[in-house]
C-alpha cells in the first residue's frame, strides 16, 4: 500500500522542554487517522513538523516518499492543510482567498471555487470580506481551502472548532465522500472523539509528546467499548492512576 506520510523517530524540543519525542508513524493511502491527546500534548507540534512549519530536531518526515526538509514543496503539492487556527488575510473576500490558493494548482477550475463555496455554505458571502466572518465561517473557509485542489492527503487540526451542527454534518460527509470516492487520506487532530469514532479507521494517542498508543480502531477497542472509554483508559494507564471509567 502506498505510503502517504512516514515519520521516523521524529522529535522537536522547545525551550520549555515540551514538544514531541521519537514519533514513528506511517499513514497509507485511504487511511482516516485520528490524532487524540490532551491539550498541550504535542498534536499541533507534530502536524507543524510534518508540514514544515517548524524544523524538527531529530528523525525524518516523508510525504509521498519525498523527504521533508529537502523538498516539502514537492510533498505539499498533494496535501491540503488546516493547521492550528483559521487565519486569513482579512481584507480579502472568501472568493479572492480561494482564488489565491488555486493559483498554485493549475488544474483547479474557476467553477470548483463556486461549487465548494456552495458546498460549505458560504456562497451567500462569497464576495464579502473575511474580516466580517464568524469563527465558524472562517473554519468552513479554511476547510474549503484545504480540499480545493482535491489533494490526496488532507491534514486537519481541530477542524470542527466553532462549527455549527449543520457545519459538523457537512464536514463529516465531506470527509466520508472524499475518502470513499477518491481514497483521500486524512490526518485529523480533534477533541471531538465521537466524531472521530465515526470517521477514523485508525487512531493514535499523543501524551506529553509521545505516541503512547496507535492502531486500527477495530483492533484497539474491546467488545462494545467506545473510543472515549478506550482513550480515558489509556490516559489513566499512562498516568499510572486507577482506572474508574
Amino acid at each position: 500500500m502506498e505510503s502517504v506520510l512516514k515519520t521516523v523517530n521524529l522529535g522537536k524540543r522547545y525551550g520549555n522542554d515540551r514538544g514531541i519525542h521519537e514519533i514513528d508513524l506511517e499513514l497509507h493511502a485511504g487511511d482516516v487517522y485520528g490524532l487524540l491527546g490532551p491539550n498541550g500534548a504535542g498534536k499541533t507540534t507534530f502536524l507543524k513538523a510534518v508540514t514544515g512549519l517548524i524544523r524538527y530536531d531529530q528523525g525524518s518526515v516523508s510525504l509521498f516518499g519525498e523527504e521533508g526538509v529537502v523538498s516539502f514543496d514537492k510533498g505539499l503539492e498533494q496535501v491540503g492543510c488546516m493547521i492550528e487556527s483559521a487565519d486569513f488575510y482579512e481584507f480579502l473576500t472568501a472568493k479572492q482567498y480561494l482564488q489565491s490558493v488555486a493559483r498554485f494548482h493549475p488544474q483547479v477550475k474557476a467553477q470548483r471555487i463556486d461549487d465548494l463555496l456552495e458546498y460549505v455554505g458560504l456562497a451567500y458571502v462569497r464576495n464579502d470580506k473575511i474580516k466580517g466572518f464568524s469563527t465558524g465561517m472562517k473554519q468552513k473557509l479554511a476547510l474549503a481551502a484545504a480540499v480545493l485542489p482535491e489533494p490526496r492527503f488532507v491534514i486537519l487540526d481541530e477542524p470542527t472548532n466553532g462549527l455549527d451542527i449543520e457545519g459538523i454534518v457537512m464536514f463529516r460527509k465531506l470527509i466520508q465522500s472524499m475518502n470513499e470516492e477518491k481514497k483521500t487520506t486524512f490526518l485529523i487532530s480533534s477533541h471531538m472523539i465521537h466524531e472521530l469514532e465515526q470517521l477514523c479507521n485508525r487512531v493514535g494517542i499523543v501524551v506529553q509528546g509521545r505516541l503512547i498508543k496507535e492502531g486500527y480502531v477495530t483492533d484497539l477497542l474491546a467488545h462494545n467499548q467506545s473510543l472515549e472509554a478506550f482513550y480515558i483508559e489509556q490516559l489513566h494507564q499512562h498516568k499510572g492512576e486507577v482506572q474508574y471509567v
Partner: protein, 248 residues
Amino acid sequence: MYKWTASYFNELTLLFYRRKVILIALFSAALPVLIAFALKGLEPLLALLAVGPSFPIEMLSLYTGLWIPLVIMTLTADLFPHEVASRTLKLAFLRPVTRLQVFLSRAAALATSVGGILVILFITTFLCTLFAGTLTGFGEVLSNLKAYAAAFIAMLAVSAVFVFIAQFFKSVSGFVITALVLYAGFKVAPFLLSSFSAFSPLNYTDWHMLWLSSYVRAGTLITGTLFLLASSVLFFSLGYYKFDRTQV
C-alpha cells in the same frame, strides 16, 4: 517556474488588495501635481520658474530621500513582521513552494511596487513639465529616464536592507521604529564620519544626481552600480537566511 509566478502574482495581488497601497499610489501621483500648483501660485513671489525643466529630478530627490523609503518600510512591515504577528505567514508556507520562492516573490513584489511608484512619478512630472511648457526636448526626457533607472537601483538596495532588518521582528511597530531610527542614523552618520556614506547603501538615495552630470567618470558610475547591486544581493541573502529559519 509556475509556482514562483503564482507566488509572485499572489504577493502582488495581496499588496494591491490592501487599501493603503492604493492610497500610496494615489498620493504618489497627486503630490507632484499639488506641489506644481503650489509653486505655480508662488511663482511671482519666488521670481523664478516654478515647474522648470529640473522639476522631475527635484521631485525624484524628494521621493528617494523620504517618501519611497517610508513606503518601503510600510510594505516590508506588511510582507514580513505583520504576517508573523497575524499568523498568516503559515498560509504561504503551506503552499507547494519553497521558502526561497516565497521570499523571492515577496522581494520581487516589493521591487515592483517601488518601480511602480517611480513610473507614476516619472509620468506625472513629465505631464507637469509638459503642461507648464518647460519641457526642453527628448534629450532631457532621456536623461531623466536614466536618473530614474539609477534611483530604482538605489531603492532596491534600501529595500534589501529593510527586508533584512524585518526578519528580526515579529511586530510591525518594533520593526518600523527600529527601521526609522536606523535610517535617520545612517543619514546623520556621514556628518560625523565622512567616509561612512561611501559604504552605506542607505546613503545612496540621491545617487541619481551623479547620472545627470557630464563630469562624473563612467568608472565611478559603474563602481556605484556594482556596489548597490552587491549590497542588494548581500542583504537579500542575509534576509533569506533568517527567513528560512522562521518557525510559525
